[in-house]
């Protein structure tokens, strides 16, 4: 991310996290937001969402990153979770083949529930548990690999092919070492079409066009100040 003090257009982007429990969703976000990693982190993140800015050459994207807060465990995410999301990070654990199956399920769910223009990134996490270099394509058959200390069970090729078929961004990362984490978020920021940034809240609200903002009632405003004048007394 390039640093710049010049004022650039800034837009908020809602990004939702999806993926099987314990694949490292929250860890990826903590690495991105705080440049921090906690071994044996508790399952929930304890925040409604986290924010982090991503500076691009021509604009600043402010990610509002929504964690599933554990509601993915029993497939109990509410529609409001997907609503107005302009980006999604679908995470699997590249040492656990079932987690890629689950990831494919979430991609299908996003295609069904989310706004049509949503940018989806497929991320294979825990690259630190493999001894193949990035993009190296580990051995899908784990039996031999474990002896060499390589826990990879999902090849780069397999996931990459799937991502290309579905039109997803694709990265392999390590939340533990930080490898590729910033790159994922920068790639997402770059992939979000300029047009969907025009409205402040993204494509979900776009059928109401620019009116959406002026229509929304602000509960934070002066609750009592003008009530007297406007009422019928």
């Amino acid at each position: 991310m390039a640093d710049s003090n010049a004022p650039k257009p800034s837009s908020s982007v809602k990004l939702v996290l999806l993926g099987e429990a314990a694949v490292g969703k929250s860890s990826l976000v903590l690495r991105f937001v705080n440049n921090d990693f906690q071994e044996n982190k508790e399952p929930t993140i304890g925040a409604a969402f986290l924010t982090q800015k991503c500076n691009l050459p021509t604009r600043t994207i402010k990610f509002e990153i929504w964690d599933t807060a554990g509601q993915e465990r029993f497939a109990s995410l509410a529609p409001m979770y997907y609503r107005n999301a302009q980006a999604a990070l679908v995470v699997y654990d590249l040492t656990k083949p079932t987690s890629l199956i689950k990831a494919k399920h979430w991609v299908a769910e996003l295609q069904r529930q989310a706004s049509p223009g949503i940018v989806i990134a497929l991320v294979g996490n825990k690259l630190d548990l493999t001894n193949t270099g990035p993009g190296g394509g580990g051995d899908a058959d784990g039996a031999g690999a474990e002896d060499s200390g390589d826990a990879r069970k999902v090849t780069t090729e397999e996931a990459k092919t799937y991502a290309e078929e579905e039109g997803l961004l694709f990265y392999e990362t390590s939340a533990k070492t930080g490898y590729n984490v910033t790159e994922v978020f920068t790639a997402i920021a770059n992939a979000i079409p300029e047009t969907s940034l025009k409205t402040a809240r993204g494509p979900g609200a776009s059928h109401a066009g620019g009116r959406a903002e002026e229509q929304r009632v602000n509960l934070n405003g002066p609750r009592d100040s003008n009530a007297k004048e406007a009422c019928a007394c």
Partner: protein, 481 residues
Amino acid sequence: MEPLSDTLWDVVICGTGLQQSLLALALSRSGKKILHIDPNEFYGGAEAALSLQEAEQWVGRISSGTGGGLFRAAAVSRSEDDTRLSPSRAYSLALAPTVIHARSALLSQLVSSRAYRQVEFLAVGAFYIFKPPQDPAQKPTLARIPSTREEVFSTTAVATKSKRLLMKFLKFVLDYEASPQRELWQPHADAPLTDLLRQEFKMDAELQTYILTLTLSLDDRISTRDGLAVIHRHLSSMGVYGPGFAALYPKWGGLSEIAQVSCRAGAVGGAVYMLATGIKETESTDDGVKLLLTSGDSVKARMLVRADDSPNHNQLSIRRLVAVVDSPLSSLFEAAVEGAPKPAVAVIAFPVGSVEEASGTESQRPIYLSAHSSDTGECPAGQTDALDLALQAFLRAVPEDRVPKVLFKLQYDQLDGGSESLGSHGPVFTFPTRSSPLSFDDSVLEPVREVWKKMMGDAAVEAEYMVFEDREGAVDDDDVY
């Protein structure tokens, strides 16, 4: 991740209707171990908002007698023209399209608990009265009810003499608890409000109907005490959050959205959520309850909270109809005054006798139609969903270029639960259930607070109920809404 059966839960909450969801929100910072389940595959219970497909499946379940809860006689139909319907998920049909008055304690709780940050609120616009034509050859009309001083001044629908009476009454209601107003209505407190309007304010039948409509009551014999309270709330809510409107509607499905946001707050606080999971068996134990869930899990909890789902068959039920029509009904959603937000909801009242039923008899009960524009996010642009038996009459009355067509219809009866107040049997608490009225009734909030108090025991501090700081990361500098 440890299995569910290994935990001793402080509370199992069954159902994600508004009350249970608000309880989850209230307990979201308590550190209690909470398991929140719902037999439905969707959030919101009786306040849910459904896609077309979900609505069809829901009707199927009610019709087959499995899991209908307090709903009966559900039916769904698509017009032959249903190719003009958008994909199922473009719709979010609210089962309880309740508007929330600005002075409602629900809004205060959503603000103090910070849950409001994730809800988009829209303005509720004008209230109209349906007027059957004098001459059957003519179209019925919709008359706007003036409910502010400015509106009373500017309206042409009311004669000057009536304007004075209306003005006098509005002024009276705004301070009705004080003397000497109180002495005027107290003797009539338990009599129908219309008696007061006729005897003390000399209003004719038409003006009485205008006032009665502001109560949004399904009972045209609503008492003076209750009626004045509701009208006072309406008038004192006017202008609180901006000019020209008194009530709000949460975008994307009304109370359903509040239930979802509350449950998310529960999850962020560590509660475990399981949809499509109900309770098969309940067994009391020394220190709580043992539950067998439909998922096959057996769990132990200190407390169980659920909603009353055994109907009171003597209780008047509400009949509802949700319809999607192929017109934006733009004429209903114009801003009331300059600077007012564009409303997304309008309410049209059909007074007793204004609609002729199929049998040729006149309607015996007031009917309310709540028209929602596509800005509610409940249907695609260019369509509207409306609620009413008098739908057809309304569609003829609405001043659009052509009579809109109905594309999709969902109807159902809803019964009230049998219990009047919070049920408590040892560790099991049961919320009383009432079908949501047209305007949110704060009395449903009380049982939630009661259960919260019981759960928190000595740690309960009333002043801290539903008062939370923003969650880390949620505070934002420039785009808080």
